[in-house]
């Protein structure tokens, strides 16, 4: 089966392409990419080829979200692997990595294999499990990294149960390095953040909510930088939220330390003053920070300090959120709004198109050592087509994710994935509204 994508601008940072090109997919792979492929098609093929005319659209390598929570096994009432993968393709993601904080924790190969099997059954986006660093994410004993890798794990993280023991973190980085897999660190000193409900500052003071200080994150970023430098191993910092973290990572990169970092759309879109109505959909960990932090996050994205935008997709059921603020679960269902929120960075001229696409495809693929995030001939046929002009309104009721917990409900957005192609197959098609020839 062949598919020709024609008439659109192609952005492929790996090949430095940002031009009008045709892309031909064949047998689930990228077959050709060139200025005009139509003359090269044999006449006898014409009937058998699916031609998609995409004038005014953008073709990008399939987007990758390296930080999601799919809740299965154990917490299927919040999300399943199938519903999460469905949300992924709606959001334009052909690949997602999922954190290990399921029940039970993904700390052994049987869980990793289960996730891979469920993802294969769903047959939507590629799903890459992240294995736990420590058994039951208890922070004491390493999991079997090698076995987890063989089963399909692409990285290790204890995610929301941060590794407080620096000696364990050191061993994790060293051992993962020998397997060429990264460790993803959720940087939070849990002594400093204990009881924290929101960013510590003026707004936590007037709202009477316990604050999580910025140093709870920054102290751990600094620690992990030092461990990475000492061990010469790679570390990836999850969901950077503070100006201080951006500074630390920027300096570490200049010193040649193997550090990469991601942030999530809410950290460059929302600030802590938004919590004044105690809306639990704004409760997230790390918490929404100050306007100065948002500015620093944008600067970090612009100068390359922050490599990746990942949604930290954290779906929850109504029963987890319709509670007193202190008792409500943290997290935002982010897969279906991540791209549109990130596109605002282009409208604000924080990022160029190739920079943005790179942070949402090529960069996460490189960090996870996956041969993805490019449209080079021979690469997997994962493609995301974006309509940069489409105006649409976020409606959580129409989310394919089971998690309707989004503070962006009702927001008007510009720009949307309209076609998500995985291994050469269309998994999401929202071209219906475009009636052009």
């Amino acid at each position: 089966m062949k598919m020709l994508l024609t008439g659109a601008r192609v952005i492929d940072p790996a090949q430095n392409i940002n031009d009008f090109m045709d892309v031909l997919l064949e047998d689930g792979k990228i077959a050709k990419i060139d200025a005009d492929l139509s003359p090269s098609l044999k006449t006898k093929d014409r009937g058998k080829i699916q031609i998609l005319k995409l004038k005014g659209k953008l073709i990008a390598p399939g987007l990758m979200d390296m930080h999601t929570h799919l809740r299965e096994p154990g917490l299927e009432y919040k999300e399943t692997i199938a519903s999460g993968a469905n949300a992924a393709v709606v959001g334009g993601f052909t690949s997602i990595a999922c954190m290990p904080n399921t029940e039970p924790i993904n700390d052994n190969r049987s869980i990793t294999e289960f996730i891979k099997r469920k993802a294969a059954q769903a047959a939507l986006a590629h799903v890459y499990p992240i294995g736990a660093i420590s058994r039951n994410s208890a922070g004491t004993q390493l999991t079997e990294f090698w076995d987890l890798k063989d089963a399909g794990a692409v990285a290790f993280s204890d995610d929301g149960k941060p590794v407080m023991d620096a000696a364990l973190m050191r061993r994790a980085l060293e051992y993962a390095h020998s397997l060429s897999l990264p460790v993803i660190s959720h940087c939070e000193d849990t002594n400093l953040s204990a009881g924290g409900q929101m960013n510590e500052g003026y707004y936590s003071t007037i709202l009477g909510l316990r604050g999580t200080p910025s140093i709870a994150e920054e102290i751990m970023v600094a620690r992990d930088i030092l461990i990475a430098e000492f061990t010469r191993a790679a570390v990836h910092i999850a969901h950077v939220s503070t100006a201080g973290s951006v500074d630390l990572i920027r300096t570490a990169k200049k010193r040649g330390i193997k550090i990469t970092a991601e942030t999530a759309p809410h950290y460059f879109t929302l600030t802590d003053d938004a919590l004044q109505a105690y809306s639990t959909n704004l409760k997230v960990n790390p918490p929404l920070r100050s306007a100065a932090d948002v500015k620093a996050i944008k600067a970090g994205l612009a100068d390359g300090t922050i490599d990746v935008i990942a949604s930290d997709h954290a779906p929850h059921a109504r029963t987890d959120k319709e509670l007193e603020f202190e008792y409500a679960a943290s997290g935002i269902s982010g897969l279906e709004t991540s791209l549109a929120l990130s596109l605002r960075l282009i409208h604000e001229q924080v990022l160029t198109w190739p920079e943005l696409i790179s942070k949402m495809s090529l960069q996460p693929a490189r960090i996870l050592n996956l041969a993805k995030g490019t449209l080079k001939p021979g690469a997997d046929g994962d493609v995301t087509v974006i309509d940069p002009e489409r105006i649409w309104t976020v409606n959580v009721k129409s989310f394919r994710s089971s998690g309707k917990n989004s503070p962006f409900d009702g927001w008007e957005m510009q720009g949307k994935a309209i076609l998500t192609i995985v291994d050469g197959e269309i998994k999401y098609d929202d071209r219906a509204q475009d009636k052009e020839a």
Binding site: E200, Y202, S204, I206, G208, L209, Y278, E322, Y327
Partner: protein, 308 residues
């Protein structure tokens, strides 16, 4: 002035005009509590639920007496645990209460913002009787009524609030209320008890009791929660009381006619010496309790659609 507010959630939301209306209404109710028959038929047929998720004697009793003196039917529900612990979400609790058709729900809750969430879910009036470390508007209003009675006015007075500001809803409500009324509010406490960026509320902040109470017209002492010692908010009660206890010596720094307030219950000898607490020439602590009933009568009355 017309009072058309559905809920009383915090001093942050109340305008100067609304505060004055409440205080004037409360003043007019003071007399009822001195009568032999302490009851007027004003709220006959109205139902008030006192819904307390946190232990409270004086506030709950004060609201109950206030309702009864206005002839409302008052019901007390005490839940020692939160709705979450019971396995019931706040929305279910709210819907259940709503279905019983009360007129006003008075709520105290350990989680900041819980009354605000409840107010959005139900059509009944909500009065916040204290939410976490956030607000306690009826306490601030009774404090202001006490000050007004003693001093004749509030504008221009210097009010020093001393103690654990970080965990105090009384402090926050008073900062908002007193600032709106034109008082100068200053705070003092060890840095561990001063929440971050509190000076952005437009007030002066000190770490020494002696600095804050110089020339104060009103000294408001806050209750120390004894269990905070374990959280390293302060090293020991002994050390705290040596430096932050209001006593005969430190009170001399305030104006000679300064009044001393405390939201209660007091820890004698820890934040306030018994001599000061019991000295009728400066202590208005029991007066505050007395004013509390009138203020709560005013709130119930105004929310029930009463006209000034």
């Amino acid at each position: 002035m017309k009072f058309d507010r559905k809920d009383i959630l915090g001093m942050k939301d109340l305008s100067l005009g609304e505060i004055n209306t409440i205080l004037e209404t409360a003043e007019s109710f003071l007399e009822i509590s001195t009568r032999e028959i302490k009851k007027v038929p004003t709220l006959r047929g109205k139902t008030i639920i006192n819904f307390f998720f946190e232990a409270s004697t004086r506030t709950r009793t004060s609201f109950e007496i206030a309702g009864k003196r206005l002839s409302a039917d008052t019901i007390n529900i005490s839940a020692s645990t939160s709705s979450l612990v019971k396995g019931e979400t706040l929305i279910d609790t709210a819907r259940n209460l709503e279905a019983m058709n009360p007129d006003i729900i008075v709520i105290r809750h350990p989680a900041a913002g819980a009354p605000h969430s409840l107010a959005k879910m139900v059509k009944q009036s909500i009065i916040n009787a204290g939410d976490g470390a956030h607000e306690h508007p009826s306490q601030a209003l009774l404090d202001m009524l006490t000050i007004k009675e003693r001093k004749g006015f509030i504008a221009g007075l210097k009010v020093a609030i001393i103690g654990d500001i970080a965990h105090s809803r009384v402090a926050r409500s008073n900062i908002y209320g007193l600032s709106k009324m034109g008082a100068q509010v200053v705070l003092a406490g060890p840095a561990t008890m001063l929440p971050r960026d509190i000076e952005q509320m437009g007030i002066k902040v000190y770490t020494k009791l002696e600095e804050a109470i110089v020339d104060a017209d009103v000294v408001m002492m806050l209750r120390i929660q004894l269990e905070r010692e374990k959280q390293n908010i302060f090293p020991s009660l002994r050390e705290y009381s040596r430096h932050y206890c209001l006593n005969a010596c430190t009170i001399k720094l305030a104006k000679p006619d300064a009044i001393v307030m405390h939201p209660g219950p007091i820890n004698r000898g820890i934040e306030i010496s018994p001599d000061i607490a019991d000295d009728p020439s400066c202590s208005v602590i029991l007066d505050q309790v007395n004013k509390g009933v009138a203020v709560r009568m005013a709130l119930l009355y105004l929310l029930s659609g009463g006209k000034e």
